[in-house]
Amino acid sequence: MCLYKNSTFFALSLIYIYAVMSSDGANVTISDAADKLKLIPTLDPAVVIDSPVFKPGLDSLSSLSLLSSFPEDLEISEYCSELLHIFGQRYVAYVNCLVPAARPVKVCLNCFSSYSSLMATYTNISSDQMGPGNVSCRDSLLRSDRLMVVYLLYNNLVDLWSKSKCQNCITEGFQSLTNDTLNFMSTLNQTLTCFEKYQQGNHTELCKNCKDKYRGLNELYSRLEKNHMCIDIEDAMNMTRKLWSKKFNCSFPREETVPVIAVSSFMLFLPIIFYLSSFLHSEQKKRKLIHQEDTCVGVIQEFNEDLCESQPEEKEMEESKQLTTPQRIINLQRDLTTLVTNIQTAADAKESTRRKELEEARRIRLERLENDVKSSQEKFEKISRGWLMAKQKVIPQELQEALNSQQQLCAEIIDDKKKLINDLQQELKGEDDRYVKDLRRQAEELDVMMERMEEQIKTLTQAYREEVALIESVYQQEREVLHTRHKTDWDQYMEDLRDKQQVRLTEKKKKVEEYETKIYDLMMETIDKFCILNLEENAKFQILEREHQQIKAKNMITAFEQMKQKNDTEVHNFNLSHMKSRIVSLQTKMKNVMSKYTSQEKQFKKKNWYLSEEYKRNIQQYEGIQKKISHFAVADAKKFEEMWLMIEAEVKQLVEGALVIDSLIYKQHLGLAWERPHMPFMELSGPLQPQKQAQRHTRQAFSQLFQSGKAVQCSHGMMDASVGPRLATDAESMDMEVCRQGTAVESAAEEEGKVSMETMKKLMELLCDESGFLMEDKVLTLLAPLEKDEQTVVKLSSLLCAFGIDEVDVPKLADFLLKYKQRQREPTEDVCAESGESTSSTTDLTSRSVHPNHVLPALKSFLKQHMHYRESSARQQPSFQYVEVRDTSEDEAYWESMGNVVSEDKVRLWEALENILKQHLSVLTEISELIPETQSLQQQNTELRKLLHQSLNSRVSTELEIP
């Protein structure tokens, strides 16, 4: 982080320097530069650092600043600017030195000289001394603005210097490196060379060989470390250590760590040691106490200890046996109680010894006392003897002597006694002391005993607890084992049970099903049996019944027969009488009818004769009329021609008139040259009759043919209809007559007709089938009982009626239909194949290939055509009959061309002209109306002028003029 900061700072400082230099180069004053530099910190420093592109940008900025430089400032003296310049140079030099020395760090060793020079410059700047010209650069350079660039820059570097602790490696006054540093550097160099030397081979060798040097370096460093070495040395050492441990993996345990570990472990073990020692101490105390009591106790103690020693083995054994017996507890109890009772027994032993001693002492005392008594007795005797002696003495001196000796003896006795007393007292005292001691000891023993008891209780409770825990655990385990076993057993049993149950269930189901089927079968059997029995019974019963019924029926029949016979005879009798009477009446009726019939026959015969007569007359009349018609026709033609010519002439005249008018109009009104329009019809005269004679003949023939055909057809139709034999005969006769008329053509026509006869029939039938829908239901119902042929005939007739087609047109229809087929087929069939054989194969083809589906559309189209035809025929009928055929269309055109002499344009022109003329006329009329007005006005005018003139000429006017 620090490094990062530093680098930031470097970058910034570099920028500053650059700016400074640029400003310097451009002869810009420092203040200006500072002002400009204010811009730079506003930029984000991070951006500044991160972007190498920034420099050119800065260049541009500087160039900008160059452009916008102020004129020279007079505030700063020449000297100061010089100083500043030097400062800048040195600063740059230092920074230049610093940056490459950043990593690995050699900031102090490499750059201390440039730092010293920078320091010198700065001291120059910051010094109070007045330079030449009496100027102090300190104020002007360092303090004149808020930013204080120089100061800041310098401060930063000083910070850097102090942080890196370079002053520790450099001698005072920046002369050279310190001795330590040099020493370190040399050893470092040695170490590094050693590293390099063995770097290639195995690292272990390196470790082995360079170990001494590295250690020396390390020691040196650790020595130097105390007085805070500069960053260079630290870094170098760091690097070396890294090399040593990380790269070469030659870390050897540092001696420093060993004591640390030892001390720390010791500290760790302190509480344990404390407890141990206290424990041991207490043990010792106890042991001491016991030792003090008696040596025997010691023996026992040892024995106990032995026991105790043997005990753990047993314990282990027992533990291995896992609670075979609570032996351990018993042992514990035993040992602990012995441990407690040991004291008691010891006390007992002591007590007994004490008593023994006491007895001994008493014995001695008694002896002594006895001795004393004896001696004192002796002495007393001696004294008493002495008294006797003294009594014998008379001489006072002797007596005195004797008395003295007596006194002496007494004193002796007393002394003895006293001595004895003293001894005894001494003894008493000793005993007292001993008693006290004993008391104290006993108290101690009691204490010990209590302590032991407590311990015993504790250990025992603990043991019991352990035991209980062990038992519990064992039981727990056992229980768990049992539990698991039982559980598994249970599960297994359950599973078995379930399986068994399932099996049984399935068996049961099967059994149930079996039994059910059995039961069902049995039921069915029984039912069947029952049914059979029932049926048999029923059958028997029925038989019996039937017999009974039969008997009954027989009886009944006999009865009926008897009855019937009776009835029949009666009915027969009645019927016979009735029929007899009827026969009689019917015979009478017959007679009447027969008479009537005969009379009527006669009448009809008469009528027939009359009618045939009449018919003959009519025929004759008809022929006459025919002649008349032909006559009239000729006359009409003549009339027509005359009329035509007349009308034509009139029309031509009219046309001429129109043309004349037109030309007049053109010439007069429009002033245009009039051209006579081309008029071919003007040359023509008479009706349009291009092929008059030729046409007339063929037409006649054709008409005749047609008539004959029609007649034939009619006859056929009549035959088909077969109204009656007589009628047919009549028709035949009629036919015969007609046939006679149509002589030559008839044969051909007949042929044609016959050819088409069969096909016609088929066609008709087909038509009837297809267009049955057109007929009324009534007709159909009526026709139903008739034969097919009849049906078709009636149908056809009704159809034709519905179509509005005369029977005449039927062959046409047939023809059309056939052709229609062909037409329909033509596009599909090959044209060339059809060309030759079409005629021959028509009949067969048509008969066969008239598809019923095509009938209707064909009929439709025929009807359309037929309508046209009829119209046209209707129009042509008269001329067809007795005049030659006239082409009315041409006539029309002719007349129209006649009418259209004046073209529509012209008409419009005329109309326009008329309009204009009308307008003109109206204008003219207006004018003509206005003319009288103008005339009147003119008249008025003239009158007025006259009046004016008169007035002017009058005096009054003159008079009036003057004033």
Binding site: T345, D348, S352
Partner: protein
């Protein structure tokens, strides 16, 4: 707060108290309507309050009895409570109030018995002859006679002041006159008490003064002849007594004989403890007579002065006795003669289970005699020969004997100068016997 007119109510009605203490009810955070006591409770409280004047307890239900018992003051006069209130919480409270240590398990879990026994003990222990009115003791009798089963008298005060005065008076004239046996030194007379305690079974008496301090005198630790006479008479009069323990009371042969004389043919006495006295051969002889003329089961004569002749007498009695189970002759002076006598006596005895001969200056011959007995005797279970100089040979003899014995489950031969391996062997045998015993017991338990 002096609320003396109604002391029991003081603890019983917290809301009322609160109300009296502080006037502002709203400030009382614990107050709530639910605390307003039931009428029945109030009635019970009034019963409690007026229990002394009108003790009503029998009419109450069980829960109500408990309620009342919990609230009765322990300072109620005993004549009210003693026969009225049955064993329970009230007596527990009384006990707890009077004594810090209350181990009710020693009193067959009866607080009432504990209270009365200790109460009576206290009265007796603080009884000063000629100063305290014997009626105070006698007055207690009807109250506690049904409940006292055991009396453990740990001190008996002599008539101190008068005697001191007398001593002072006499002391000037006759210095330390031991023969002087004024009537003033007599202690509490048990005869007035024991015949009335119809339930008494155990009596532990020590003629001594606790915490005498610098006023120590030997006489304080003696029972006088008159004391002895009266005590013997008292014991004789008490027909229910099973255990008599008179220890550390300076009983000599004479007193012992006197006591034994009265104890002869006692109908219920089973255990006798004369430990830590000064009984000699004559006393022992008297006791041997007692052994043959009573149903004693346990005899404790430890720390006395019985010597060979006394031991012989006891051994003689033992050889004929069929009731004694435990004999303790610890710290006497039997010596080999006595020991041998007892050893031979054991050959004829089939009832004794425990024998303590520790600290008796017996040596090898006794050990040999005992080992003979041990071979044949299969009833003795515990034998203690500690603190005797049995020596190596004795140990070997015992070892030999133990190898044939299957009944001994305890054998203490500490401090007997026996060789280690024989000790370990003996211990081994003892342990096997113990385990056998355990098995037997376990089987018995199982069969039960």
């Amino acid at each position: 707060m002096s609320r003396s007119p109604d002391p029991p109510g003081a603890q019983l009605n917290p809301p009322e108290d609160c109300r009296r203490m502080r006037r502002i009810i709203a400030e009382d955070p614990d107050w709530c309507l639910a605390i307003v006591p039931f009428l029945s409770n109030l009635c019970l409280q009034s019963i409690v309050r007026n229990f002394e004047e009108k003790p009503i307890l029998e009419e109450l239900k069980l829960s109500q009895k408990d309620f009342v018992q919990e609230r009765l003051s322990p300072s109620l006069p005993l004549h009210v409570t003693a026969n009225l209130i049955s064993d329970g919480i009230f007596w527990k409270r009384c006990c707890k109030q009077r004594w810090d240590l209350c181990d009710v398990s020693h009193y067959s879990h009866s607080w009432k018995r504990m209270f009365f026994e200790r109460h009576l003990e206290n009265i007796i222990e603080l009884f000063i002859p000629d100063v305290t009115d014997p009626k105070t003791v006698v007055a207690m009798v009807p109250l506690c006679k049904n409940y006292v089963k055991r009396l453990v008298i740990s001190q008996l005060l002599p008539p101190i002041k008068e005697s001191q005065k007398e001593e002072d008076e006499y002391g000037s004239e006759v210095a330390s006159d031991n023969e002087y046996d004024g009537p003033s030194m007599d202690h509490f007379d048990f005869s007035i008490l024991l015949d009335k305690l119809i339930c008494l079974e155990e009596l532990h008496v020590v003629y001594r003064v606790k915490q005498c301090g610098m006023n120590f005198e030997w006489k304080m630790f003696e029972m006088t002849d008159r004391d002895c006479e009266s005590f013997a008479m008292a014991v004789k009069s008490c027909k229910t007594l099973k255990l008599l323990r008179l220890h550390e009371s300076h009983i000599e042969d004479k007193k012992c004989r006197l006591l034994v004389k009265h104890l002869l043919d006692h109908p219920s006495l089973r255990e006798l403890d004369f430990s830590h006295n000064l009984i000699g051969n004559r006393g022992a002889r008297a006791i041997s007579k007692l052994l043959s003329r009573s149903k004693l089961e346990i005899l404790n004569m430890c720390d006395n002065d019985v010597r060979d002749s006394g031991a012989k007498a006891i051994a003689h009695a033992l050889s004929k006795n069929s009731t004694l189970l435990s004999l303790n002759l610890r710290l006497n002076r039997l010596r080999d003669e006595g020991g041998q006598a007892i050893g031979t006596a054991l050959l004829n005895n089939n009832t004794l289970l425990q024998l303590h001969l520790g600290g008796n200056e017996v040596t090898e011959p006794t050990a040999i005699a005992l080992s003979k007995a041990l071979v044949h005797n299969n009833t003795l279970k515990s034998i203690n020969l500690s603190c005797n100089r049995l020596g190596v040979d004795g140990g070997k003899a015992l070892e030999e004997a133990m190898s044939h014995n299957t009944s001994i489950t305890e054998c203490d031969i500490r401090l007997t100068e026996v060789e280690e391996h024989s000790v370990s062997f003996i211990n081994q045998v003892v342990w096997t016997n113990q385990s056998l015993e355990h098995k037997k017991q376990a089987e018995e338990n199982q069969t039960k």
